[in-house]
Structure formats: C-alpha cells, structure tokens
C-alpha cells in the first residue's frame, strides 16, 4: 500500500510518456523511478549514467525521493497518532468511567456501541450521495466526451472542474439556505406516497435538515471528481473500437454501450470509489445540514431519525469534549481512516483485477491518433495516476 503510493508520481509521468513518447520525458520518468528499476530498456540506461554525474540531477532526485518518502512518513504518523490517542478510549470501561459518562459520550455501553451507528451513518449518507451523484456524473462525462460539440465540451468540462474548487463550507451554507427548503415539497410527496418504503417513512421533516438534503449536497460535491476522471477514461477509448462498432451498424448509444462503457468500466468504478472517498470524509456540509442522531436508521426524510456521520460528529463535539471524550472522538476518526483505507484498497483491487482486459485493448490501440487532453486540475492529475494504472501496465506489457 505504502510502496504503491510512493510510486504514484512515477506512474503519472509514464501516462503522459506513453502518449507523447518524447525522449526527455522518458528519461525524466526513468530518473525519478530508479526505485522500481528501468522501465524501457532502450534509452533509459545510457541516459541514467549521464545524469548521475550531474549534481543538479542528484539534488533533484534527492528532493523528489524525499517528497515521495514524506507521504509514507505522514501516513504512518497519522495512523500512529490515531491509534495511540484512541487506544485509551477504546479499551476504557465506558460504563464506569466518570468522564465518558457525561458530554457527547454519555449513555453508551462501550466504544463499539458508540462508533458503529456512526460508521453506519457515514456509509449510508455516502451511499445515497453516490446513488444520486454517480449516474449524473457519468452522464456529464459521456456528454462531454462523445456528444457535445468540441467548444461546448471544453466550457462544460471547465465548469465541472470549477465545481471542485467551491469550498465545502459554501456548499454547506447553500444546502442550509437553498436546498433544505427546496426539498421540502419533494420530501412531503415521497413520504405521503411512498412512505411504506422504510427509507421514506417516519415523521417527515418540517425544517429540512434531512439525510436527503445532506446527500444531495454531497452528490453535488462528488460530481466533479467522478465526472472529470470518467471523462478522461471515456476519451481514451480506442478510436478503432468505436469505429468498428459504428461500422457494424451500431447506433451512437449502442456504440457507447459496446465499445466505450466496457473499456472504461474499471476506470469509472475507481472514479466512483474516489468520489465515495470524498463523500465519506466530508464534514462541514453534513455538520451544517443534517440534524443528527447516533442511531441505526434507514430513514432519509425525517428530522429526528438521521444517522450521524463520523466526520460531522467529530466536528460538532470536539470543542466541548475533554479528556477521554476527546480520545473517543479520535477513536471514531480512526474508524473513518480504516474505512477510507478500505475503500481505496477496493478501488485498487478492482483496477488491478480488471487490468488484463484493459491491457489487451490497450495493445490494439493505435500508437498515435488518440489525443489525451492535459490534466487540468490537481484532482484530475492524481486521479489519472490512479485510474490510468491499467493503461500504464498495458503499455508496459
């Protein structure tokens, strides 16, 4: 896991290298990547000997190697901090401890009875956000990559990326002031007509601080991540595959279904999981909008039966908490860390497992002709590094 992370910058380099095939970029990637060994036999060997003799290159290598190792160190430091700080609260006797019997942790039998509803709430709110956001994001990506005229696509792509730059507190305020009242009629309607379905049941909210409102805002927040990564993946579909499908008489939709979607599947899945990662950790918007209870609840239209999320719970209670209560909150943070790690691992697993399919397709891709637009945001660049793994490996094989 850590090793993979430290290699990521190198992989990003190689994505662009594979497309542009410029010798200098190849040399650069080889120099920054000496930990993983030579990538392409031709050119990298001699270039490396020459580079090593120059102090500037050694300094640059040192700096980039330092940056790469810093990621591992920071990640380890965060994990160690969480474990050390959380351990006393996890192992404490919650029933007899005076500090845990008051404040935010009052009334729980042990750490797990406190954290498990929060874990559920975190997953539940994120899942609904994903359910709302992912299809729209993929739709936007498809429109930009395959339907929109080039100019519209450029502007639209830019606007979607701009959405990623809006601070989450602004989304939170927008959610409170605009989305909350806006969703009230829909909540009423769903509750009256579909109230027999558990998630729409219960006493419908009159204020609007519901899981639904929170998830809608979350969905908007994860939109840019999913759509910009998916867009890049869709654009990488081999032109030959698309043309072949069209030549066989497929309509545009059938072409997308037969050629684009299967090709992009693993990339889109990992884009979605990255969006999930964002949703899991989102704090301010949720803390501001949702009226929380620490319970297991499916309901999304009520005021009093919304499951609280971990991040929002920490934000809301950290100020008042002291001593062991603080450590209990840090313990919930550790759980969030574990969940996020799990989501990332699953994302990687999916990419790796579905890799061979992408590899075969990658081989058939013409060396030139498919143009990859430069990654326009930092988010995208990172995402490309992740999502682009399959292509990297394809080109390497």
């Amino acid at each position: 896991m850590f090793g993979n992370d430290s290699q990521r910058p190198a992989k990003e380099n190689s994505v662009s290298t594979n497309e542009t095939v410029s010798p200098s970029a190849a040399a650069l990637s080889a120099a920054g990547d000496s930990a993983t060994g030579p990538r392409s036999p031709k050119g990298a060997g001699p270039a490396r000997v020459k580079i090593k003799s120059r102090p500037a290159d050694r300094i640059f290598f040192g700096l980039s190697f330092g940056s790469a190792s810093l990621i591992v160190v920071i990640l380890a430091a965060v994990a160690i901090f969480l474990i050390i700080k959380a351990a006393p609260a996890i192992t404490a006797n919650w029933k007899s401890d005076a500090s845990l019997a008051e404040g935010p942790t009052a009334g729980y039998a042990d750490f797990w009875s406190y954290v498990l509803p929060l874990v559920w709430g975190t997953l539940w709110a994120s899942a609904i956000a994903l359910l709302i956001g992912a299809p729209i994001a993929i739709g936007i990506a498809l429109f930009i990559s395959h339907y929109a005229p080039r100019r519209v696509a450029g502007v639209l792509g830019y606007l979607v990326d701009l959405l990623a730059a809006v601070p989450s507190i602004v989304f939170g305020l927008w959610g409170i002031i605009v989305i909350r009242p806006l969703l009230l009629p829909l909540s009423d309607w769903l509750n009256q007509n579909l109230g027999w379905i558990p998630i729409f049941g219960g006493q419908v909210s009159t204020v609007g601080s519901t899981v639904l409102a929170g998830s809608v805002v979350l969905a908007v927040m994860i939109l840019p991540i999913i759509s910009s990564i998916s867009r890049e993946i869709f654009l990488q579909t081999p032109r030959l595959n698309e043309e072949a499908a069209l030549a066989l008489g497929a309509t545009k939709w059938e072409m997308i279904r037969l050629a684009v979607l299967p090709y992009a599947r693993s990339g889109v899945v990992s884009a979605t999981l990255l969006g999930l990662g964002r949703a899991l950790g989102e704090t301010m918007a949720i803390a501001l909008i949702i009226s929380p209870s620490i319970i297991f609840s499916l309901r999304i239209l009520t005021e009093g039966e919304n499951s609280q999320t971990i991040a929002a719970n920490i934000a809301l209670n950290f100020q008042i908490a002291d001593g062991l209560q603080r450590q209990a909150l840090i313990g919930t943070g550790l759980m969030l860390f574990v969940i996020s790690l799990g989501v990332n691992l699953i994302a990687r697993f999916i990419v790796v497992r579905t890799g061979p399919t992408a590899t075969r397709k990658g081989k058939r891709r013409p060396p030139e002709g498919v143009t990859i637009p430069a990654a326009s945001t930092a988010v995208e660049a990172t995402a490309l590094g992740k999502a682009g793994n399959s292509h990297t490996e394809g080109a390497r094989a």
Binding site: A98, S99, E102, G103, P104, A106, G107, I176, P181, Q203, S205, T206, V207, S209, A287, L288, S291, P292, S293, I295, E303, G304, E305, A315, L316, N317, F318, Q319, I320, A321, D322, G323, Q325, R326
Partner: protein
C-alpha cells in the same frame, strides 16, 4: 491591587468609565441597571505582559469587551482569548499548561481538579463565575405571546406534546389562539454549555417528565439538531411552528417565551436583572478546594416574578499557584477586573450578559488573594 489612595482609585475608575463608554458607543440598547453595591476595582496602568487564555465561546464576546476595557488602562498588557477551542478545549489546553486561564461553561469536575495539581501545585485550581446570561426559549408562532410552565416546557422538549393546540399549552396561554400545527423542536447538534444548563434545568425542575441525561450533548432523540447557537436561532426563525433554546445574548430578533418561575403562577421573560436575581437564589457553593467559587445551580430554588428561571453561567478557571509570580499578578488583576462591578457592566453593555450578583462578586477578593 490594594487601594493605596482614594484619588488614584477615582482617577482610574474614571478612566475605566471612559473606556466603558467608548466600548459601548456602538450598542444602542443599555441592558444593565446600575447596582448600588459597587465592588470597586483598580487596574494598575503599569502592568505589562501577555495573558493567553481560551475556551467557552459563550463568554467570548464578554472577554473581548473585558480585554478592550482592561488594555485601555493597562496598555502594556495583551490578552489573547481563543474562543475556537470551546469549553472542553479550553480546559484541555489549560491543563496542558498552554493557557493562563480557561473559559468554561461548567466548573472543573473532581477528576480535572485533581489533574490540575500537576500545573497548579497542591492548591489546585480556582473557578470564578464571571459570565451570567440566561437560556432563552425561542419559538416561531406569529401572533402568540407564548407562556410556558416548566412542566409543559419539559413535555415539549421530551416530544410528548407535539402540536401547538395541545391542552397543556392551551392551559398556560388562556385566551390565545393556538394553531393545530405540529411542533418542531430545535436543539443543538454540537456539544454545548447552553445544552448543559438547559437539560440540568429541565431535569431538576421536572425530573418525572424530563428523563434525559443532563449534559452538554442533547439527550433526546427525535429533535431537529442544528449546529451552534446561531444554527438553532436561524432554524427556529426560518421554520414554522418551531421552538428551540439559545443563550439569550445571541437570539437576535427571535421571540422568546415567558417561562414559569418556580411552581407559582408567575411567567417571567428574560431580563438581565431577572437572571441576576435568579442566580443569586439558585447558586449553591460547591467549592472543590479552599477559595474555589464553583457554584451548583439549584434551579428548584428559583421562584417569584423577579427571577428568570433558567440562568446560564460560565467560568474563568485559573491556578492558585503560578510558576511565575509576575504572571500571577497579571492574571489576578485581569480576573479581578472581570469580577468588579465595572467589569460586569462592561460585559452587560457590550456582550448582553447579566451582571453576576454582587454577593458572589464580593467573594472574588478573598479567592484572588490565594493566587500566588
């Protein structure tokens, strides 16, 4: 801080008064009534140094006013009060030795008092009640001047009374036209001293009805939880048929209900004086150590038409022994100023708080003398 000559006292009191009027120029309403028993206090203008403190956000506005007034006289002093930490963070950082004093909505518990000996020596810590306000019950029900008995209030917040035309509410408001709309109860979703005061009030006054655990986290599931006092106020104001609670100094234009005082027939609206009178009656000394001014508020002792039944209190917590005597003198002087009549007036005018009763302020002098 001994009074060496009367002229100096007079001169400095004058300076303080000028500072006070300068601070209050921007606030139109004057909430403080002059108290006849003045706990006179002088600020030594030659003081210099930095006081670092933090904690409760409830007393943050008052701290800002005190700092402005104090440093207007003692211009060599800087006071940094960090309100971002909250009461819990204030106590935690203070116990870690980062603060000269902590602002907290509750006095230290026994556990933390024991811990404080690590930084304060054997004398431990002293709690000073410095900030008094009231918990206002705010609602949005146009055209109704709501009066609530403690029993009805407890039932509403226990979600047992769910519509505005419930017989319990109608009995409290004879002659008022009450709609049949549902009641939306708005509470704090974040941990808060206001919640602690309010839940303590409900569970002391109506223990049979309000069965939730009193504390800084709202204990009853099913309410609309909003972040911060402003979140509650905004949601109550924006909603229909809403009711919530907030520190009176932060309710803005929201309408507050009159609450039954004691078990009698008096329904009292909040006023600073009513909070002062109520707190004086309800404050039970609960010292953790010699000279400690911790108070347990016994809400059941509050009664009468001149007492607002839900006072809200916040403390400054400082060591009895400082490592540096000069710093001790500085903090002593600052808390002494806060606990003086003029200090309480500064807070009342600028932060909308209620003056702490003079009988309690009178104890400050003896306790401050313990700070070394």
């Amino acid at each position: 801080m001994k009074f060496k000559n009367v002229a100096a006292v007079g001169a400095i009191a004058l300076v303080s008064a000028i500072a006070l009027s300068a601070c209050s120029a921007a606030t139109p309403e004057s909430t403080a009534a002059p108290t006849p028993t003045a706990a006179a206090f002088t600020i030594d203008p030659t003081l210099a140094g930095t006081i670092t403190a933090g904690g409760s956000s409830a007393q943050a506005n008052a701290e800002a006013a005190w700092t402005a007034a104090f440093t207007a006289v003692a211009s060599g002093v800087t006071v940094n009060y960090d309100k971002s930490q909250g009461s819990g963070g204030g106590v935690t950082n203070w116990l870690a030795g980062s603060y000269d004093f902590a602002g907290s909505d509750s006095p230290l518990n026994q556990d933390n008092q024991t811990k404080s000996q690590a930084i304060c020596g054997a004398g431990g810590a002293l709690n000073f009640p410095v900030y008094l306000s009231g918990v206002a019950v705010i609602y949005n029900l146009p055209g109704v001047d709501l009066k609530l008995s403690s029993a009805t209030l407890a039932k509403i917040f226990m979600l047992q009374v769910t519509t505005w035309d419930d017989p319990a509410i109608a009995a409290d408001n004879k002659g008022a036209t009450l709609p049949s709309t549902p009641i939306t109860v708005v509470t704090r979703s974040d941990g808060s001293g206001t919640t602690a005061n309010f839940t303590n009030y409900l569970s002391q006054v109506q223990p049979a009805i309000f069965t939730g655990t009193p504390g800084s986290a709202w204990p009853i599931a099913g309410t609309s939880g909003q972040q911060g006092g402003s979140g509650v106020v905004n949601t109550v104001t924006a909603g229909a048929g809403t009711i919530g609670y907030a520190d009176h100094s932060s309710i803005g234009t929201a309408t507050a209900a009159a609450i039954q005082s004691g078990t009698g027939t008096d329904f009292v609206s909040y006023s600073p004086d009513a909070a002062t009178v109520a707190f004086e009656a309800a404050a039970v000394p609960a010292p953790l150590t010699d000279g400690d001014l911790s108070k347990k508020i016994d809400y059941t002792k509050i009664s009468g038409a001149d007492s607002y039944p839900i006072p809200l209190l916040s403390y400054a917590i400082a060591c009895s022994t400082f490592a540096d005597p000069a710093q001790a003198a500085l903090v002593k002087s600052y808390i002494g100023f806060i606990g003086s009549d003029i200090g309480q007036k500064v807070a009342a005018k600028n932060a909308g708080s209620a003056p702490v009763p003079a009988s309690i302020l009178a104890d400050f002098t003896a306790s401050l003398d313990l700070i070394k």
